[in-house]
């Protein structure tokens, strides 16, 4: 073979090596950049998850603290029923009861109407739309009440005042009025349930139902308000309505052993 032919072979060989190395380098760079890009995204995700977890734990801790304060202090301290409530505060409570709290439990008539609609083959979407419209109406109503907003604003803005209130709550005795007062300042699901339970113990089912409605408004997915609501309806002799309420819970929020147990006992 002539040296120029060998040279040509060598030339091609060198070209292949050159382009091969360039290609492999580009490939490696792409892989590395892809790896780092993915890692950044994963890190961001982890950070976000951690942040959400932290927020969640903080919320839970806050709730626990509030619970501790309420439970312990109410157990320890014996309160005179009429002693420390001021007249103005009582007025505020009345206003809140009238304006802020609004029942969101399905009325028995509504439930009947829904069942009829289902039987007639109406779409679920229509029902959902109705619910949405109602919720919006509720919001509008609450927003229209300047007084209530003022009260809530005051509670949010003035942390010092809320601290003072907490101290006052600690000092007050465990009475129904105090619980109502506490609820009116900081509306809480647990407090509402507790008040309703007191009414249930006193066999005051109508009042109990009112408080259960309030509790349900705060956390509608919690079964306890539904459960107690159905029980109080049974006590009032409205077993059919109670059944419908329980069925409505199961339809909306899925299976729950206690709800199902109560429903079975009613059949």
């Amino acid at each position: 073979m002539h040296r120029y032919e060998e040279l040509e072979k060598l030339y091609y060989k060198k070209k292949y090596i050159k382009y091969g190395t360039i290609g492999s380098l580009i490939f490696i760079i792409l892989i590395v950049s892809y790896y780092f890009f993915n890692r950044d995204i994963e890190n961001k995700k982890v950070v976000k998850i951690k942040q959400t977890e932290n927020n969640y734990t903080k919320k839970v801790e806050k709730k626990k603290i509030i619970k501790k304060v309420t439970k312990k202090d109410f157990e320890k301290v014996k309160v005179d029923k009429e002693s420390n409530l001021k007249k103005e505060e009582i007025k505020e409570v009345a206003v809140i009861q009238k304006l802020v709290l609004y029942p969101i439990f399905p009325d028995i008539n509504e439930l009947l109407a829904k069942e009829k609609a289902k039987k007639e083959g109406a779409d679920k979407k229509v029902v959902e739309k109705e619910n949405k419209i109602k919720k919006e109406q509720i919001k509008e109503k609450t927003l229209n009440n300047n007084e209530t907003i003022k009260i809530t604003d005051n509670t949010n803005k003035d942390k010092k005042e809320s601290k003072k209130i907490e101290i006052v709550v600690k000092e007050k005795k465990d009475s129904l009025n105090n619980l109502i007062h506490f609820y009116n300042i900081t509306p809480d699901y647990e407090t509402a349930i507790k008040i309703s339970k007191i009414y249930l113990k006193e066999n005051n089912y109508k009042e109990a139902i009112e408080w259960l409605k309030k509790a349900n408004k705060l956390i509608p997915e919690n079964y306890e308000s539904w459960y107690l609501f159905a029980k109080s309806l049974v006590k009032l002799g409205k077993t059919k309505e109670a059944k419908r309420v329980l069925v409505a819970y199961l339809n909306n929020y899925g299976a729950n052993p206690k709800i199902e147990q109560l429903l079975r006992s009613l059949k």
């Binding site: 002539h2 120029y4 060998e6 040279l7 040509e8 060598l10 030339y11």
Partner: protein, 242 residues
């Protein structure tokens, strides 16, 4: 292609001269005409210093009959001729071209300086850049240099001019047309504008093309010069082949 490659053979043939340094030529001719004492041309090896000196020597011989003109291409080999210069002492103005002046020893350089100082002599010295800095930039010598010309390597445009005009001047315009800008770019990249390197590379390239045209004519394009052959020539010259 056989005849084409001969154009780029590494030899000094004034018929193949391409005027690449016209400004330098004018400056140098003017300096000689003005009877300046010492003129220094320096630059990297293979930049065309010798070719330029030869060209000016040729033109001076034709133009200025009043001058006695000498050309020493290698002072080391032509020592006798150089020594004769020191003996000849007359009123006639003499122009002495000394190529490869880096081969001069310090004693000779000093005698040349004395000669230029005392007699009507114009000394045109051509040397490599590094040596020029060492020897001729000495204080007592540097002050007597009237012209100092640094010959730069060719740029891309001058490479184009050099190759195409060389081919066209020798009736190879069909080959000159085959060269494209990419070819000149590659030549510039490989030779860095050094004239001697360009000549060597071109000679080898045409040799390779000639071989492939004879044995594998389908591989050689008749419209253009493939960069492959230029790169192959470079590989062969640089011993990458081995």
């Amino acid at each position: 292609m056989e005849a084409v490659k001969e154009l780029f053979k590494d030899k000094i043939d004034m018929n193949l001269y391409v005027p690449l340094f016209q400004k330098v030529e004018i400056d140098l001719s003017y300096g000689i005409y003005e009877k300046e004492k010492l003129i220094l041309i320096y630059g990297e090896a293979g930049n065309g210093k010798s070719f330029l000196m030869r060209k000016i020597y040729q033109t001076l011989q034709e133009k200025y009959e009043d001058f006695e003109i000498y050309f020493i291409s290698n002072p080391f080999e032509e020592e006798e001729e150089l020594d004769n210069l020191f003996v000849l002492k007359s009123d006639i103005h003499r122009v002495v071209f000394i190529d490869e002046a880096q081969t001069l020893n310090e004693e000779k350089i000093e005698r040349l300086r004395m000669l230029a100082d005392n007699y009507p002599y114009t000394l045109v010295l051509a040397t490599h850049e590094k040596e020029a800095r060492k020897i001729f930039m000495k204080k007592h010598f540097a002050t007597r240099i009237n012209y100092s010309i640094n010959l730069q390597p060719l740029n891309l445009e001058k490479i184009d001019l050099f190759i195409t005009s060389k081919l066209i001047q020798n009736d190879f315009s069909n080959v000159a047309v085959m060269f494209k800008k990419s070819n000149f770019k590659l030549i510039y990249k490989l030779t860095k504008g050094n004239l001697r390197e360009i000549n060597r590379l071109m000679y080898k390239t045409f040799d390779i093309i000639d071989y492939f045209k004879k044995h594998y004519p389908h591989k050689v394009s008749s419209d253009k010069i493939d960069n492959k052959y230029i790169e192959m020539a470079y590989m062969d010259l640089k011993g990458i082949y081995a």
